[in-house]
Symmetry: C2
Subunit: 433 residues, 2 copies
């Protein structure tokens, strides 16, 4: 029986297990908050009638796992509580960690961050972090169900790969059987081959970046939602992404209201307002320069500039036509403006920054050759299979890729992507626990 | 419109896209098999009435992506076929790969294995491999839905980890920010911490082994289905695994009949016969020695010995009580026979070998200390967080771990786990494509 189930049995005798989250000793009467994954309940022990139970309860350390037997009664605050007739310690907590993991403290407060990250194996018992993990699980289910309902096949691309999407020095490299290879930065090369067989595929799994950016939206290990489908244009993939994001927002509001409340930072429903405004990269650069946020054509748009554009357009919004200078090689060059690619980036609201990119991907082997030469990838034997796919009757295809933790951060209004996953792997931080 | 959809439109004019899988030129009449992910259809081109179309069709290379316009008619063999009035090449295949990926050859024949693995990016267009990939996607969905329906929360353990379950020399190691760490062999350490917060958790994601075994059931990268739950005994986790395996078998038979037929190697439904017979490790060793299959108490049971036991018991079957000498440290020692752990292994039928292990896991910090000392892990700072979890009111918990590719191999009767995934990563084989 869970704590929640026990609490609901008004008037009955119940037996349940949980952890000691808090104890308040009022001299003669003691209140214990016993918590599990379902919630928390107040257990009352009275010295006069307890027959030694008071002393037992007094000796239990915070976070010890206990079994409680008692009667469910109506408490003063209107919630049911438990009058204990027996408490047994199943597993005693020997080493206190402060603040107590299941106690009410602001887990997102910067002053706790290092301590929480260092002791994540214990702080995942915190109610706010439990709620985020449950939300993450529900969100993954919602996303996958959308893919299944729209005829996508789940495809697991390998993690170990010879072919990086970005520069090799931004990848994590590993030696296997004497070969120097990499952890995947992006499943795209494998998904485009898979789409040529399966038409519509998606991949949800870990990706790795060796970048040095210490921003609030980067981790070196994260979960990557990738999809690839045959035929269609950039507008088609923009429409598809708007449909999936709006669907996610709606489903979270329907199914995750309790979890959102438990996280306690509200919910961002901006993604439901489709279609999102679009601005071309060229117009964005013009606007930024007009308002003295200097940006040179061909450069990436930084976090400050994203904010300026959010003030102009509201969020989320699309930046359409990202320059070929900043994009890696797999994306089609815009025939109407050969300075830019057929890529669009979706920037979220509330200064959360980029969520995802969509693209028309190259199917023509000659265009592939041009772009691989431009990016210095043409001579590498690691990309032979990518060339093969493009020389073997490659159908035009479109794609998108989204960071799961960025999505969670945006929806739950978290101060950093590190709170969107358990055991986050961060730049220049020890891999521990 | 897919090929399958087009084929169903008897009497109508249709337009669809696909790849040229086969061409048979009978002089004056040509038959093209055009395939996509949904299937294949015969397209007829007659020289007399074709107005140049015959010559166009003649020039198209195998595996080129084409658009076909034509009328759907009843063919001689009873299947619908398409009489073409236009064929347009969308993307020409420039480099032939033989046998043609979408042609009918035995993709599982050992003589093709190296070639297929080297060109997997093209051979994933083979109908049998397409069927396996679709089956894998369906199977993952079935497994996850079972977990969700049984109140498990999906939890993503990190891939980058300081703590290996087995010996470090059987792990893939990687340097990140100057630290020597590892790719996860098993999510167990993180899942047991998560279970202390979330009660029931599962993890589906990649695991890595640096082992040198070149058997038909090992890869260095594979997908690992792991679950961990609070309270309960070894019998409870045995019951749970039998329930999930029987459920999987039943759901595959209901939902995947077409895919199983397309793979063409039958389906193994042995997993539906629950409960599975059990033999203690000690009895197994006695039996093996009686039939002259020499096995010393305390050693692992090899593939030949597994087969001898399958002949005795039928399969699948459980070996209960695996010796502490061969198991890593997290598992409870059997109080009735301290030579063995509270671990049981499930061995499949048809000589497919071990599928999974179940266990009662240690919650008592003193037993953890004893076992970590025994395995030489006690002094390592990488396991401090594991000790912390056990000293912080650790509730008893049970777990299982299953290789997804082993499950697929068993169910679909595949000759090697490498066919159960795209782009398999195999021992002593180049990481390519």
């Amino acid at each position: 029986m869970t704590v929640r189930e026990a609490t609901s049995q008004a008037g009955r005798d119940v037996s349940f297990r949980g952890w000691l989250a808090q104890r308040r000793d009022h001299g003669g009467v003691m209140f214990l908050d016993i918590a599990d994954s379902s919630g928390s309940v107040q257990v009352v022990v009275e010295a006069e009638t307890s027959n030694g139970l008071y002393e037992t309860a007094e000796a239990i350390s915070h976070e010890s796992c206990v079994e409680v037997n008692g009667r469910v009664v109506a408490g003063r605050a209107g919630n049911n509580e438990i009058v204990a007739n027996d408490i047994r310690c199943i597993s005693s907590a020997r080493k206190p960690v402060l603040p107590y993991p299941r106690s009410k403290f602001d887990v997102f407060d910067e002053k706790h961050a290092d301590h929480v990250l260092r002791n994540y194996h214990l702080y995942m018992r915190n109610p706010q972090l439990i709620a985020i993990m449950r939300f993450r699980s529900e969100l993954m289910r919602i996303v996958r169900d959308w893919f299944y309902e729209n005829d996508f096949i789940e495809f697991n691309a390998p993690i170990l790969t010879p072919a990086t999407l970005y520069e090799e020095d931004t990848a994590l490299n590993i030696e296997v059987h004497g070969e120097n290879i990499f952890l995947t930065q992006c499943a795209g090369f494998y998904l485009e081959a898979a789409a040529q067989a399966l038409d519509r595929v998606f991949n949800m799994g870990p990706s790795f970046r060796g970048e040095t950016s210490r921003s609030k939206r980067h981790m070196i290990e994260y979960w990557h939602i990738k999809a690839e489908m045959l035929h269609g244009s950039r507008n088609d993939i923009i429409d598809l992404v708007e449909a999936i994001v709006a669907h996610i927002v709606e489903q979270c509001q329907i199914g995750c209201a309790d979890l959102i409340r438990a996280v306690g930072r509200g919910f961002c429903a901006d993604g439901a307002r489709i279609p999102y405004p679009r601005i071309s990269y060229a117009d964005a650069v013009d606007h930024l320069n007009r308002v003295k946020c200097q940006t040179n054509f061909g450069e990436g748009i930084g976090a400050d500039a994203e904010g300026v554009l959010e003030d102009l357009l509201g969020g989320p919004y699309w930046i359409v036509g990202i320059p070929r200078s900043v994009e890696p090689f797999p994306y089609v060059i815009d025939p109407d403006d050969r300075r830019v690619t057929m890529v669009a980036d979706l920037i979220t609201s509330n200064r959360c920054g980029e969520l995802l990119g969509v693209a028309e991907k190259i199917s023509d082997p000659d265009m592939l050759c041009e772009r691989m030469m431009e990016k210095g990838k043409w001579e590498s034997p690691s990309y032979e299979f990518v060339k093969d796919v493009h020389q073997a009757g490659c159908a035009p295809h479109i794609a998108f890729g989204m960071g799961l933790e960025r999505l969670i951060r945006w929806l739950l209004n978290l101060p950093h992507v590190r709170y969107a996953t358990a055991f986050p792997r961060l730049v220049r931080r020890s891999i521990y626990p």
